[in-house]
């Protein structure tokens, strides 16, 4: 896994990455039990595919040096999850309660995802303004005035351009 500076947004991103892998594994390995608990029977394959998405996103977050696009990917995935869970609220089944709790949890995680992605974006934009290095020339006068100041230096014979490759000046 790529290592990053352990700042707060990075730490949050890392946590969300592991969370994504965890929830994804549950969806991939136990779609039937989940579908029963969330009042989403008949959607087992859909839940398993969401699991694959979660695991891939989690690996992306943890392996990438820049997790921001992957976190925005999680936000998009959250929207899908919310839409799917909302269908579990239909009807009068007792299991509606499970879907409601899961929906509340996903809404909470969505807030975290948006906060994390926004922090990472803000940091990226702050860095996009480069510091003023325009005075760091290291030269006492403007470069144009220093051009050729070291022409007193004699290039050693073994580092000169080979004679056959030097500009050819025909004899007069």
């Amino acid at each position: 896994m790529a290592k990053r500076r352990n700042t707060r947004p990075d730490a949050l991103a890392q946590g969300l990455g592991w969370f994504s892998i965890g929830i994804g594994l549950v969806e991939m390995l136990a779609p039937h039990a989940l579908a029963r608990g969330l009042n989403l029977r008949g959607n087992e394959r859909l839940l398993a595919s969401y699991g694959v998405r979660e695991v891939a996103t989690g690996i992306g977050i943890l392996a990438s040096r820049d997790p921001e696009p992957w976190i925005w990917g999680r936000v998009a995935g959250d929207a899908l999850d919310i839409g799917t869970l909302a269908t579990g609220l239909d009807g009068h089944d007792d299991r509606r309660e499970g879907a409601g709790i899961a929906l509340a949890a996903v809404l909470g995680v969505t807030v975290l995802d948006v906060l994390c992605a926004s922090s990472l974006r803000a940091r990226r934009r702050a860095r996009a303004v480069p510091p003023d290095y325009s005075r760091r020339s290291g030269l006492p006068r403007p470069p144009e005035a220093m051009r050729g100041a070291a022409r007193d230096f004699e290039v050693p014979a073994d580092m000169r351009t080979p004679e056959p490759l030097r500009p050819w000046v025909p004899a007069a």
């Binding site: 500076r5 290095y133 325009s134 290291g138 030269l139 050729g148 500009p167």
Partner: protein, 389 residues
Amino acid sequence: MRALCWHGKQDIRCDTVPDPKIEHPRDAIIKVTACAICGSDLHLYDGFMPGMESGDIMGHEFMGVVEEVGPENTVLKKGDRIVVPFTIICGECDQCRRGNFSVCERSNRNKSLADKVFGHATAGLFGYTHLTGGYAGGQAEYVRVPFADKTHVKIPDGVTDEQVLFLGDIFPTGWQAAVQCDIQPTDTVAIWGCGPVGQFAIRSAVLLGAKQVIAIDTVPERLAMARAGGATTIDFMAESVVERLNELTGGKGPEKCIDAVGMEAHATATLDSLYDRAKQAVMLETDRPHVLREMMYVCRPAGTLSIPGVYGGLLDKVPFGMAMNKGLTFRMGQTHVNRWTDDLLRRIQQGQIDPSFVITHTVGLEQGPEMYKTFRDKKDNCIKVVLKP
């Protein structure tokens, strides 16, 4: 003493280790007053160079005050202020007498291993794998300097550590990169990479009188510093390098090209770099030679390619036929530091250049592990890190 030690890929720690001792009569022990993290340290940090062992002390760019000397070292005395070149030299072998210090025949104590890998051994280096001697590096409070009677640059009063520290590596490396281009007043010099070596190559090319210096990178602060030094810049993520270089040279290409990038070219900028990265991942290739390919393509026929950037092993899909037919000259190698230091020290003293311009971060040794990450990821506008033990 405290030292920054390598413990594996992306695992540098500030450890407490035994103090160094005099092991040979020509040795010296120095108390380090300043050291730096070099771009080539990142190749070790990222695990691209073979031959590191857990616990190896990092660092090959350092200076300090002589603390103790061996009985045969009559050149140095306690209290002398010196910069230590990263190439360890005996000063007596055939190569040293020719000025080819980076291939000193005697300073690599793991010669038999290096002979097997390279065909013939090169010089010993500080803190740079067991292929180059396995010597303890200078990101530490104290360092043992082998062949110290030759492997040093004496520093007079009147200049600061920050002004002379880089005489040990990046300044002479950028200088040699430009010198071996044999720059003519009509030349355009294109420099790939605006890290510290690239920055010194830019200023060296300007001082040596190039008509035009063009610098290629994508990191905004590095491009800004390159412009400050007199370069026209190309952002390789925003524009075509080949098209822009041809535009800036009337369609002929630059006469001289300098690769200040080396084996870790940006992995996602171009298709060939992606290809290299994929091959690296399955251990079918060691280096990403995108810059070499681009230089060979765009360089003016009969031009010169100067390669201070470090390469480690096997390179794939290098268009050598193109280079041969264009009659390109290749010049490369680790820097013959001592060949240039007297002249460069004089230029610093005369005020022709102040190398401290490149320093963006100065921290204590214990912050070294964190700064490796910051420098590697080009975060916090980091260009050059100096550590004060």
